[in-house]
Symmetry: C2
Subunit: 435 residues, 2 copies
């Protein structure tokens, strides 16, 4: 009778369980590094986005006037919100501020494979340090999260670049270059055809030959980074190259160097990045877009009226990360997990409820009949929820002080004394991803 809204999704239990397992793996990796969970609103003032990106951004958002006449928008990303939160408490928060959160965001865009109007991201950010170790820690959390999901260096790679190298090189051309537009062009390099890409560079102010030369420079391999310093001859490029080299060196300490490849053609779409930027790609190319990305945004907090506060972060989105996990065969199996089904035969609700309660107190997932069903219907249901063991609580068995345990895989049945069950039968912690 009612339809779901286009671009929005319902997650039923089997799929949801796998999604939660993946999200929990990413979040717990970040929590292990001391990133602290925060909670943020779904609505913000629309001008928070319009001020940064122009009024036209509002066409891509769910922006509207609320009943109190406020121009508001469903948050399309977290970064402006966390910037606002840092500014609001900048005096009392001890630095570095390390935050993590997972929640939905919303954009009014045309849905396609791996893109929805409502999409989930985990945001991981460090505020208050410009040290290359912070950039490396972000790359380490990203790398560890993917390893913890079962992915390896054969599955993914991080394309690492630096906004200030791009900006510094552009500055070196004898032309009036719109740096923001030129960097946006670089971000589109792999997404549009070659002619369109060069047109974008030229409309950003580069001549035909300058655009070609700039594009050549973007192919510089890591070993030749110092050539860029010589080419530009500016402190800005020298500092940017040294910074990028320091970040890459620090990733060695953090154990994630192997995932990182220099790729100056990686620029990231958002304007606020200032230093290191990176994107994670599927090594096989089967997932054709970047799986996720991140980078340094040292000017944003000041732009939000705060004290100068360097920042770096990344934000895996689960639409593309799911595609990578599925491609690599590590997406968690979408089956329900149930430890026990307590089956009632005759008027045994009270004993069955007690058995179920004792099993739950030992950490198990336990269902029992709440429908007044027959033996056969209960057994069928126990099978449908993938119960490992069925505890049959029957009137006759109870007269002998016993219950029957049925192993659902083998079908084997054993009688146990009710006084001795469940006993010390605690659940091994590894059996559930939440543990």
């Amino acid at each position: 009778m009612y339809d779901r809204i286009k671009g929005f999704r319902d997650f039923y239990p089997r799929e949801m369980q796998s999604r939660q397992q993946v999200i929990e793996t990413v979040e717990s990796t970040a929590r292990g590094y001391g990133f602290r969970p925060i909670g943020t609103p779904a609505l913000e003032q629309a001008k928070m986005y319009a001020d940064k990106s122009g009024e036209e951004i509002l066409d891509e958002l769910y922006a509207f006037e609320d009943r109190g006449g406020r121009e508001v928008a469903l948050t399309p990303e977290l970064t402006p919100t966390v910037a606002r939160m840092v500014v609001a408490r900048q005096q009392e928060l001890s630095k570095p501020i390390k935050w993590v959160s997972t929640r939905p965001f919303w954009r009014y865009e045309e849905p396609q494979q791996g893109r929805f109007r409502e999409f989930y991201q985990t945001n991981v950010d460090i505020f208050g340090t410009s040290d290359p170790a912070a950039d490396a820690e972000i790359l380490a959390v990203a790398g560890d999260a993917l390893s913890n999901l079962g992915l390896t260096g054969e599955d993914f790679e991080f394309h690492v670049s630096h906004r200030d190298i791009l900006g510094g090189l552009l500055e070196g051309f004898d032309a009036d270059v719109d740096t923001t537009a030129a960097i946006r062009a670089v971000d589109k390099r792999a997404k549009v055809d070659r002619d369109e890409y060069f047109e974008l560079l030229e409309s950003a102010g580069l001549s035909d030959s300058q655009a070609a030369e700039f594009d050549d420079l973007l192919g510089t391999p890591e070993a030749d980074l110092d050539d860029l310093v010589a080419f530009a001859g500016t402190d800005r490029v020298a500092a940017a190259v040294a910074n990028l080299q320091a970040v890459l060196a620090a990733t060695e300490s953090f154990g994630v160097r192997e995932y990182c490849t220099l790729s100056l053609t990686t620029a990231r779409g958002l304007d606020y990045y200032t230093g290191t930027v990176f994107e994670c790609f599927d090594s096989t190319g089967e997932v054709s877009r970047a799986v996720f990305g991140g980078g340094r945004y040292d000017d944003l907090i000041e732009g939000f009226g705060g004290q100068p506060t360097p920042a770096v972060g990344f934000a895996p989105g689960y639409a593309t990360l799911s595609l990578l996990c599925q491609r690599a065969g590590v997406w968690p199996e979408e089956t329900l997990q149930t430890d026990y089904y307590v089956l009632q035969v005759g008027d045994t609700q009270s004993v069955a409820a007690t058995v179920a309660r004792e099993l739950r107190e030992r950490g198990h997932v336990v269902e029992s009949d709440v429908s007044g069903r027959s033996f056969g219907a209960q057994l069928e249901y126990a099978d449908s929820i993938n119960a490992e063991t069925v505890v049959i609580v029957g009137e006759r068995d109870l007269e002998n002080g016993e219950v029957t345990l049925r192993d659902m895989e083998s079908g084997e049945q054993t009688q146990v004394a009710i006084d001795e069950f469940p006993g010390a039968n605690t659940r091994p912690t590894v059996a559930n991803f939440e543990n």
Copy 2:
């Protein structure tokens, strides 16, 4: 520079950690009963709410027209959404369907203590069984969740009532009664003054004396429930009373009878309830409103175009539940938890990163310097994040193959061989609520 929107909240790490601990306790209680997590959209068609409650409900919602001309609303509650989801897959879902989820909802209401425009709820629902055991299981999940939070029968009570008893009694009066309006009046009984309450009953169609008689009947104690059957003399009231008695008897099996008190003046505000309804109250009355509530809504799925599917559920909201936990002194302490801070002295980033990594692999929360700070500044930061142990990785110690462990509570320091640390030092699972 930018303000948060009125009625919306930011949660910083200390408060968020406590909130997540409370939410996880409630959710894991439900998961123990076999309720399966689902994920649901933040936006639905506005008419899903308007059809049920009239166009005027939209004034209390964040309803707007999206860029594609759709009339949409930020979801004010979950029940219509789960009803839509059940209808969409009613053939393939095995019954009973048991779902749980926690997420924010939104209403454009005046904020007050314990009420926000963005608020979080856990929804716990069973679809596909009208057996009293299902109602009792919902009460059991509610009771166990509160016990697991550290609350006792001294702290809270469940006021249990039955919509069909109220409806059946109203039907028994020789008057043209608007049952929905009369039940709404009962729901307002404790919130408005006595005159206003009786005016509401009278405008629902009862005479002066009928209203007084009806209100008297609502005071019937549990032992005298059969008097209501005699008074009404209808099968409807007889069946409703028998059903409520069966639910209360089943709560005995489920171990939560002690929390339940009959209270026919409990009606719940939402129109869709059909059978058992209940509200949880602070026993001390300090939290003056209902902490949360729930009940049976057997007609909703059919009203959404599905096959007749009975349903029962409850939905604790964390604004009021927090008030109850705080009043009872069981709100989790709002302090950060950090197992280790790995302090770098001199050029020891690589060793420190390795130590930190090995500790994290053992399940610990570990931070290390990402700001290039001095010994003193690092120690101060370790203190600010409440680190239990500081591992001092110094150049000179390393020459001897050692690191220093500093217990932050006692200040005691010990040297350990780097080869033997962290060793088998795994974290006890009880130390973190997620485990």
